[in-house]
């Protein structure tokens, strides 16, 4: 006797296109939302780890981001906009956390260097230089703009909207932050 095939769409969630899963989650399907968490957790955590420079804090923040997303997903109009919207929720959560931790989003590089985690993370890239540690040496606003531009592929206008910064400031931060990053990597390479 062959088992009856189920018509339950949740049985095929893993294979379903993201827009379908988002639409199901928007209608209150908890299984669909869990599937979205499973699919998006790495990107959200990577983004926040680069912004925070602290894995534990970033992962805790990522959990809060998904809870916020669960609360707000019903108000999302276009399921195709989920990825960008989730990114904005993550940036907003990091900005709130930075304000709460009394770390102003300015160009106070000295304060940031003092707060940076001195311990290297397990995964190292580019000849032993850890990207997260290098990013931690940028000022918060520069780091945010550089991560969103290079890591998330966002345009300057999109960054300006997500970070609530003027477009000119974003362009300047991306340019200066990128140059600083290159200098950081070049400097360490010279030492080698």
């Amino acid at each position: 006797m062959t088992p009856r095939r189920t018509r339950d769409p949740r049985g095929r969630l893993e294979d379903a296109p993201e827009e379908t899963v988002v639409a199901l989650a928007m209608s209150g399907d908890d299984g669909a939302f869990a599937e979205l968490v499973r699919r998006r957790q790495k990107r959200v955590r990577d983004l926040l780890r680069r912004l925070c420079g602290d894995h534990a804090l970033a992962d805790d923040l990522a959990q809060k981001v998904f809870v916020r997303a669960w609360r707000g997903i019903g108000a999302l109009r276009d399921p195709g906009a989920f990825g960008g919207w989730l990114k904005r929720v993550a940036v907003s959560a990091w900005l709130s956390e930075a304000r709460r931790a009394a770390a102003p989003i300015d160009d106070d590089e000295g304060a940031l260097l003092a707060a940076a985690d001195p311990a290297p993370s397990p995964q190292r890239v580019a000849g032993g230089i850890d990207l997260e540690r290098a990013l931690a040496r940028l000022a918060p606003a520069e780091r945010l703009c550089v991560v969103l531009a290079h890591g998330e592929g966002m345009t300057h206008a999109e960054i300006a909207e997500a970070a609530h910064l003027p477009l000119g400031t974003v362009k300047s931060h991306v340019l200066r932050g990128t140059e600083k990053l290159k200098r950081i990597f070049a400097g360490v390479s010279d030492d080698d």
Partner: protein, 116 residues
């Protein structure tokens, strides 16, 4: 000096694991707690509403009691019960029937909905 492409390549890899069932479970647990908290808040609000309504009813009953006594004393009786009391009980019963539908968050469901 590093090129833009090399820099972008650095961002291609991240430190978070590709799959992490524990993370998904932790998020699900947080959502469960948030949902429970929301339900408790709604319940507390409703309880507060009922308490306030009871308080208002209690005070109002004390104020209008003398008038009611006068009304009942002179009123005709229905099966030994003063007619205003019978009417009051009927109105209160109808109000209790209607109230849950009016307070319900799902306004599209209920006997007040027009039948097409």
């Amino acid at each position: 000096m590093m090129t833009d492409t090399q820099l972008s390549d650095l961002f291609a890899e991240g430190t978070a694991p590709e799959t992490d069932p524990d993370f998904t479970l932790r998020v699900t647990a947080r959502i469960g707690r948030a949902r429970l908290g929301g339900r408790l808040r709604v319940l507390a609000l409703r309880a507060a509403g009922v308490l306030m309504l009871s308080g208002v009813t209690f005070v109002a009953a004390g104020v209008i009691k003398p008038m009611l006594v006068q009304l009942v004393d002179g009123a005709p009786q229905f099966m030994g019960v003063p007619a205003p009391v019978v009417l009051g009980v009927l109105i209160a019963g109808l109000a209790l029937l209607v109230r849950p539908h009016l307070l319900s968050s799902d306004t599209s469901v209920g006997f007040l909905e027009p039948i097409e």
